[in-house]
């Protein structure tokens, strides 16, 4: 970016700074990220607490300790939706776009700031749930013959599952931001977002469906595909591999940001 444009339009760096100030000075940001951390670590700890080894030794303990992501992602979605739609409900968007007439740059700055905040908080949350699992699981009999190694980020698959879960949360934030940019209303955006996330696992975790349909839905559902990153056992039975699954979620997020960005440029604010 050339320095000449600086005076009129501002650089991405300045936009990021502005967005960061907006995000950090709203009290709801802290509360939502804290809620997310509590949900991820708390539910993860609870899930590892209730499994007992002699009964269910073949559990994927890594995945189980990351169960909280399924709830915590809702707080991330709220955060990302509010980052955009609260500007529309308060009229702030007109000031934002006056200060930063390049709308795509403004959106990119929001995406960068959100992703950064969610990555940082997500790392804390995931580390917390893996730590909880590390201390709780051996007490429940996950030792010795069945599970010789304790849950540790040093293990490649556990690191992939935990790190991938952090990326998953960031992609959920970007996906929600794109949707909120397209829909503008916070209620509509969060309802559509949570509907897209939860409906596929709700229907395909149950029996009775045609297996081919089940497979296809799980392969393309943003949540079922994205959370494949958490699996460390039985990878061959997954409908989609860990990294391709996260790729599917990235496609959803990219598509939402594309549509949102396009509408942002075309519509009046």
């Amino acid at each position: 970016m050339s320095g000449g444009l600086r005076a009129q339009a501002g650089t991405l760096r300045e936009a990021v700074h502005a967005e960061w100030t907006k995000l950090r000075t709203v009290p709801s940001t802290g509360w939502l990220l804290l809620t997310m951390i509590m949900l991820v670590a708390g539910v993860g700890a609870l899930a590892t607490e209730v499994v007992k080894c002699p009964a269910t030794c073949s559990q994927d303990t890594t995945k189980l300790s990351l169960t909280g992501i399924q709830l915590g992602q809702a707080a991330v979605a709220v955060l990302a939706v509010l980052a955009m739609s609260s500007e529309y409900s308060s009229g702030m968007i007109r000031i934002t776009l006056t200060a930063m007439p390049r709308r795509l740059t403004a959106l990119a700055a929001k995406a960068i700031v959100l992703a950064g905040a969610v990555l940082a908080a997500g790392a804390v949350a995931t580390a917390g749930s893996v730590l909880a699992g590390r201390y709780i699981l051996p007490g429940n009999g996950f030792t010795g013959a069945y599970h010789s190694e304790t849950l540790s980020l040093a293990a490649g698959s556990t690191l992939r599952a935990a790190g991938g879960s952090v990326l998953y949360l960031a992609l959920i934030a970007l996906f929600s931001l794109g949707l909120a940019t397209a829909l503008r209303d916070s209620g509509a955006a969060i309802a559509v977002m949570l509907g897209l996330l939860y409906i596929v696992p709700l229907l395909t975790d149950l029996g009775s469906l045609d297996p081919r349909w089940q497979h296809r839905l799980q392969e393309w559902g943003p949540m079922t595909a994205g959370l494949a990153i958490q699996a460390t056992r039985g990878l061959k039975t997954l409908p989609i591999g860990p990294w391709p699954g996260l790729g599917v979620l990235a496609l959803w997020a990219a598509w939402a940001l594309l549509v949102g960005g396009l509408l942002l440029c075309l519509r009046d604010a």
């Binding site: 169960t67 809702a74 009775s208 297996p211």
Partner: protein, 542 residues
Amino acid sequence: MSTGTITPYRSGQRPGRDDFAHLLRSEWTKFRTVRGWVIAMIAAAALAVLAVVALAAAASGGQNPAADPAAPANIGPDSPTVAIGPGGEAVTDDFYFVHQSLDGNGSITARVTSLASSMRPGEAPPGETTPRGPQPWAKAGIIIKASTTPGSAYAAVMATPGHGVRMQWNYTGDTAGLPGAVSAASPRWLRLTRSGDTITGYDSADGSHWTQIGTATLAGLPQTVQAGLLVAAPYNLVATENFASNTVTLLPTQATAVFDRVGLSGGHPGATWSAGNVGRAIGQKVKVFSTGKKMTLADSLVRSGGTFRVTGYGGDIAPYVTAEDPLGTVLKATALGLIAVIALGALFITAEYRRGLIRTTFAASPRRGRVLAAKAIVIGVVTFVAGLVGAAVAVPIAERKLHSGGWVSSVYPIWSLTSAHGVQIVVGTAGLLAVAAILALSAGAVLRRSAGAIAAVVVLVIVPLILAVILPQGPGLWVLRLTPAAGFGVQRGIPQYSQVMHVCEPHNGCFPLAPWTGFAVSCAWAAAALGLAVYLLRRRDA
């Protein structure tokens, strides 16, 4: 103390706007005049109907052996035989029967002095050495049956290891008699009397003091029926968990009962007892778990004087139960409508906060609890009506789609909308939507932000259904008992029979609580949230 009476000032105008009917009317006007909300409510119902119907079309039974258990392709040497009972439902009618003809009215009496039920020797599943206890629903008793044809009408009185004496009739009927297990010290006397189509069952601990358990009317019972002794040893079900899925293992059992004081009045003079298995050829080979080989396990009758020692291998006389619930599964697609309804419920109050309308509302009607009550009634009733219409359209279409997709109606019934179970599904679904809307309204009043309220209620109502499947079975069932998702149990599409052993698995759509009990749990959540919302509304500034 004043001596005169001072009349406080009263305005000559009647208080017009503060009564509850007006409050309801103003809240209804607020809902009705926001075009987007009305459209969203109609769209939510339509979307849910479409999703349910599309899913029912996709849930083809052709892939699933459970869709038609009586189909020749699905009957293996070890699978239980399936017959059609008098009510058109699929039944298991496979038991060891020691019988005589009974002409016209008469009665049969017997004393059960022992009933031993156990896993068959050498049948422990791989890796398991602990022997299992008795099958709680093993059966030893007396029966009057229209014929020896599988699926024919009957009434029976029997002792069981886990559920005391029962009178059962026509596969689905079940009434409890004397409690406790049978032993030589505490035998059970059983009696059945026939009078026309009516059969009455009695039990007694001593053979002189008889108690009537119940009566059964078997329509069209022929003149000559078969009366005698019955022994059945149903499978023991054991749930084992894997990282990917839970499986239920069927463990074959055997049961041996000792009868004496057998008396038959109304039989043919000089007739003898004949023994045979209903629904299975005698000497059929059964696969043994441990060896994988097939061996012949013939049911047997040993008589010495007046004592009958009867051993049965496998079998049951009961409704055929399946773990699959295709209708309940496809009805989960109503969650799409549910999310929309949750959004509307939250917006019904958060929109007032955002626009500042809430201050006008409270200025006009200062009693805030009543305002929230009026809002809850309006959003609840509107949602209930939309849900009722949607469910009444979706359920019959989905049932027919499932039926034409191969799910047989003898196992997966097509409920009429006027039948008790049909009403449960349709009214329960509408009620669940209304309860979720009120929960969302309360969350909206507490949090005052639409996105947070919507997300919180979705996480409370819908995510537990997903968690219940992921978690191990025990904790998964607790999730379905304690969270607002318990109410989804009203959508169960197959009948539940307590007289058949079953394993409740969340991934098959099973809910641990009875349908309306689960619904009450959801209602309790909504009531508690509404109470909290009223408390906070009164305490906080608007």
